[in-house]
Amino acid sequence: MVTIRDLHFAYRRKPVFSGLSLDLAAGHIYGLLGRNGTGKSTLLRSIAGFLFPQKGAIGVLGHEPGKRRPAFLQEVFLVPEDIYLPAVPVDQWVRYHAPFYPKFNREQFLRIALDFDIRVSGRLDEMSYGQQKKALISFALATNTAVLLLDEPTNGLDIVSKSQFRRVIAGALDENKCIVISTHQVKDLENLIDRVTVIDEGRILFDQTMDAISRKLYFKISYDPGETASAFYSEGSLKGNALVMANPGDEDSRPDLEMLYKAVVLHAEKVNRAFAE
């Protein structure tokens, strides 16, 4: 669905990507993790056709994103980190934007808006930033585009809205859609994504499915100094040391995305070796 090959991109003299390659398939929710300024937003904007590769190629559903042809734009929706919505009522905004998206479903929009507690008769400019963001996410999901890119979607959402967000996104996925969520707040994506991609300094540091992570890594709390020493990453807590370890015995554990992220950022080579074995 999305194919990125040997992507090179730089802002003036600051290189962001130098040879990044990545494949994204339909039927998955990808979590794109990384520190601020590592290129997550740049990657999403490149996939959406707002930035052009200086070298390499991006293909989305057979389209070259940079050409921004209407047929491509009808199939890709980007919810940026900072959003702007016009000063009009929600229903009017939907009425005049929806016809551009052939697969837009009004009932679906109203259902999601209801889930998000959005008042459809209200004006966009009278809403809080979080409500505006929820309105845009509701619209984005209702467009039913094949590729949905969400850049830091939980920024500006309160705790209740974040769980609403997880519920809504989980319910929106089908086998024809590819959803990419970029965030540095990894906790927000727990139980939502089925593939984790970590970007650092413009390269893919880690790219695995949640299934593979559950099989190859073991997450546990331990007081055992031997286990702590052999762990890829450990972190002290009141309950003991939280560990990310290799999982040679195929033991079941619940992946902790935040721990995984820290393990990958600090010891990417060791963690990736566990997946290669």
């Binding site: 904007r45 959406a48 056709g49 707002f50 930035l51 052009f52 921004r68 042809r69 209407p70 047929a71 734009l73 009808q74 890709v76 929706f77 980007l78 940026p80 900072d82 959003i83 702007y84 919505l85 016009p86 000063a87 009009v88 009017q92 005049y96 934007h97 016809p99 551009f100 998206y101």
Partner: protein, 281 residues
Amino acid sequence: MNQTFDFRRWWMLVTLHWVENRKRYGLGLLAIAGLLIAWFSFLLTVDKFSALDLGYQFSAYFVGLYFIGCLLSGTIFSELGDKRQGIGYLSLPASHLEKLLCALLFSIVFFFIAFTLVFYLVDIPFVHAANNLVGERYRTSADMSSVPYTTPVYNILTASGAPMLEQDGHLLLTSYFAFQSVYMLGSVYFTRSAFIKTTVAVLLFMLIYVSFVSEGVGRQLPPGWFIKDLFQWQRGSSLVGQGQWVKLPLVIECALKILVSYGIPVLFWVIAFFRLREKEV
């Protein structure tokens, strides 16, 4: 569906643009009317015997048209200067050509019609009021030796009473579209303060052009010769039979006038289209 231009999609874009901007446009037109009313009222109070003559009307029309028209064109793609708005604008499923034509429709066609309508809505009653006022003053004046001067309404189609530049082929009116196209390109090209930067660029270009003509071309002329206008060089007196002229052939003169009037706008619209296509946010 055609990926370059589809009328239904373009019309949806036009409707969307209108819905999102109608309040701004409406207030803008009211502000124009307010400024014209204030200016004409001021003229009525200071010039008691030739208020609102053709010169005043002509200059009010063209100063307003040039300044506000260029300001509108210089901000028609202002979304692209802001990342948040730029993403929303560029991600809308319409082609670059449709987006450009929508901008042209509002900033060139609709603005010209709306401005001209507002001008006449203010101008016609004010000219009548001025004529009545002048007539009244004449009747009450002690000096009855002169005939009261009544002013006609300025006609942009005939350009009667306008400077020769305008009377001779509407060069000022058509140049307006050339200027507007430059400002439209500026609004796509510059990320911030597009209007100011375009104005600086236009002034710089004019300075270079004037320097080139006076210092470059002027110095190449034989002694005693000078440049009369864009198409004529002259030696000696301008009285008939007393000087010498060299004129460009009429074909070249006409071709240059057509280029300025119609070629430059089209050229800059085409450049704006390509610039829009390669715009990154």
